[in-house]
């Protein structure tokens, strides 16, 4: 359903090109939830903005193709793409407070999303929004309320309702629970899981938090410095990670079911994407670095079943 091929998105700055996404390829099937994980600055949000074509002005898609239901979407003009965005591909943003307009009723903001994309009467749209609010566990009458009258969890749920109201084929959620407290986070994750099974949703879930991915995703792609270093089904990636970065990342999260020891850390810091390291980008931090890693960039190789890794060790 979605196929991303060799996408490179760079930011043009005074100091040079920041290679935020630098050659990313993956494919997704209908009904699947793909997690996109990595630390801040690894390019995961830029990738989401590339797919939804919401990049800031100083960003350029240098190369690559993105096929959605067989149509290449990067080459569509803005007018054509607007028909796809929100109707076919919608987004759940991270900061619920900033994503909603504070001086307009929540319901009206969602109605607007429908009226922009579909030729329906306002009454019908209002009714659909009320149903969508109900579906995410918010009282219908909340339609008339303003964002400040919503609690944090309700605002996030309202954004989920807004993303689903046009029955999109693909939803991209960027850190949907990061700003929330654990209990509210559990409420929202439960909602996301219910909707996944109810609506046969396809979803890309972007987060730095592997526990969110463990709970909600079928497959996961690990990004490092603008590239996908490993991709596979969640069980393989968590239980048998291959890439040294994935191994480090998985060990960096303490689990209450694990041993009572300090989370492991990965030495060094993520690279500057103005001048990424040569060869494998992880080589300056890698405990298994070899000579070839410094000069040659590793290709994606299939390890088993659905698991692929880009590392010279394999």
């Amino acid at each position: 359903m979605l196929e991303v091929k060799g996408v490179k998105t760079y930011y043009l700055t005074d100091e040079g090109q920041v290679k935020a996404v630098d050659g990313v390829s993956f494919a997704m099937e209908r009904g699947e939830t793909l997690g996109l994980a990595g630390e801040s600055g690894c390019g995961k949000t830029t990738l989401a903005l590339t797919i939804t074509r919401l990049l800031p002005r100083n960003a350029r898609v240098i190369s690559g193709e993105i096929y959605f239901d067989g149509v290449e979407i990067l080459s569509l003009d803005e007018e054509e793409f607007r028909k796809i965005r929100w109707k076919d591909i919608s987004i759940i943003f991270q900061e619920a407070m900033n994503a909603l307009n504070p001086v307009r009723r929540v319901g009206d903001q969602i109605v607007e999303a429908i009226l922009l994309h579909e030729n329906v009467a306002r009454e019908e749209a209002v009714d659909r929004v009320m149903n969508a609010l109900e579906m995410v566990g918010i009282d219908r009458e909340r339609f008339w309320h303003y964002p400040h009258e919503f609690s944090g969890g309700m605002r996030q749920s309202a954004l989920i309702a807004m993303a689903l109201v046009c029955n999109p084929k693909l939803v991209i959620a960027d850190e949907p629970v990061t700003a929330l407290d654990v209990m509210v986070r559990a409420q929202v994750l439960k909602l996301i899981k219910e909707l996944q099974s109810k609506m046969d949703l396809s979803m890309i879930l972007i987060t730095h938090d592997l526990s969110v991915i463990a709970e909600t995703c079928d497959r996961v792609a690990i990004m490092y410095a603008g590239k996908i270093v490993e991709i596979g089904d969640v069980i393989s990636i968590f239980k048998d990670p291959k890439h040294p970065y994935t191994k480090g990342l998985v060990k960096a999260f303490p689990s209450i079911y694990g041993p009572r020891e300090l989370p492991a850390s990965i030495s060094g810091t993520p690279p500057d994407l103005l001048n990424p390291p040569s060869g494998c980008r992880f080589h300056p931090r890698c405990p298994h670095v070899m000579d070839i890693c410094k000069v040659e960039e590793p290709e994606m190789k299939r390890i088993n079943g659905k698991q692929y890794v880009a590392c010279h060790l394999y």
Binding site: D181, R260, L262, S265
Partner: protein, 337 residues
């Protein structure tokens, strides 16, 4: 009274008055308060790491600020046990407080905000020493700064003293923040979410430094976090806060593996677990934490409690009771649930 106690807090209250409008004032409406911390008691033993855990707004940061007297508490007592016997902090006057302050230092959450971008590392670390007149000459000043930078593993320290915050990575910044708390040789460190703003891959390193320093300098920590899995690993004992109160306290392993308060039970059941093979029953509480301006009657958790008993829980406020050694819980029904 336990031996080896370093800090003891008794019935600490921090209430913030809510501004009344003129009309409310003329109508003689009663003064309302935001009861951020509403009567909490705990102790920290020497060399121990005590964790305050809970969701945002539960009062954990306010507690730390009140211990530093950055906020004046409304009531309660804070005892610090130093070499010359106990000192009661709320009774200190400004001058005494200034002298005392070097003994308790705080590490804040955000390394990007707790350093002045226009100050070099040297300036940031020398300022507290100069203000407190703790060094005699510039040679001693430099020595002390270099040694504290080594303590937080910024090697070689000489290469860091002239750097500015923007020339440091997030992890290095937080280590400078730790160094600036340490440079005054405190006995207690209040660490408020010291790693939550850092990338996961560097958190372990910063935590390791904090533990190392504890051993090396015999420090005592109050560790504030929302992350229970981290609290389990770092803390010896924890106190779980809800809406300005400690509802359960005990050894971190005991509280997390064998929680007794319904709120702790729910909180533990939703701890994020980075393991797709673990399936567990989650207790998802309805709604959100009520406002500390309108604290519910009786047990303040009763409107959200799955075990709520009419006439009991909404009548009387439960107090912390010891149910096994050092494990205390504030719930009327703990034996029946």
């Amino acid at each position: 009274m336990l031996n080896n106690v370093k800090l003891r807090v008794e019935d600490l209250r921090v209430w913030f008055p809510v501004r009344r409008g003129l009309i409310e004032f003329l109508q003689r409406k009663p003064q309302k308060f935001v009861k951020a911390v509403d009567g909490i008691s705990f102790y920290i033993k020497k060399g121990e790491i005590f964790g305050l855990v809970g969701e945002s707004g539960c009062g954990k940061t306010t507690t730390a600020r009140a211990l530093m007297r950055l906020i004046e508490p409304m009531g309660g007592k804070i005892f610090f046990y130093g070499e010359d016997g106990p000192i009661e902090l709320t009774s200190l006057n400004k001058k005494q407080l200034k002298k005392f302050r070097t003994k308790i230092q705080m590490i804040f959450q955000d390394p990007y905000e707790s350093l002045d971008p226009k100050q070099s590392v040297f300036d940031a670390l020398s300022e507290p020493l100069k203000v407190n007149k703790l060094v005699k000459n510039s040679k001693e000043l430099l020595e002390r700064i270099l040694s504290v930078l080594e303590d937080v593993r910024l090697y070689p320290p000489e290469s860091f003293i002239d750097r500015y915050p923007h020339e440091l990575s997030g992890g290095q910044r937080q280590r400078v923040v730790i160094a600036s708390a340490l440079v005054l040789n405190p006995e207690i460190i209040l660490a408020d979410e010291p790693v939550s703003m850092l990338d996961v891959s560097i958190r372990g390193e910063v935590l390791r430094i904090l533990l190392e320093l504890k051993e090396k300098r015999g420090l005592t920590y109050l560790f504030i976090t929302h992350d229970l899995s981290l609290a389990r690993v770092i803390c010896d004992r924890i106190g779980v806060m809800y809406l300005g109160k400690i509802v359960e306290t005990g050894s971190s392993e005991e509280v997390i593996k064998n929680p007794k308060h319904p709120y702790t039970k729910a909180l533990v059941s939703v701890i994020p677990v980075p393991d797709p093979t673990i399936k567990r029953e989650k207790i998802i509480l309805k709604g959100e934490v009520p406002s500390p301006m309108d604290v519910p009657s009786g047990c303040r958790f009763h409107p959200r409690c799955p075990y709520f008993k009419e006439g009991v829980c909404n009548k009387e406020e439960p107090t912390l009771m010891e149910i096994s050694k050092e494990h205390l819980v504030a719930c009327h029904l703990w034996e029946d649930i």
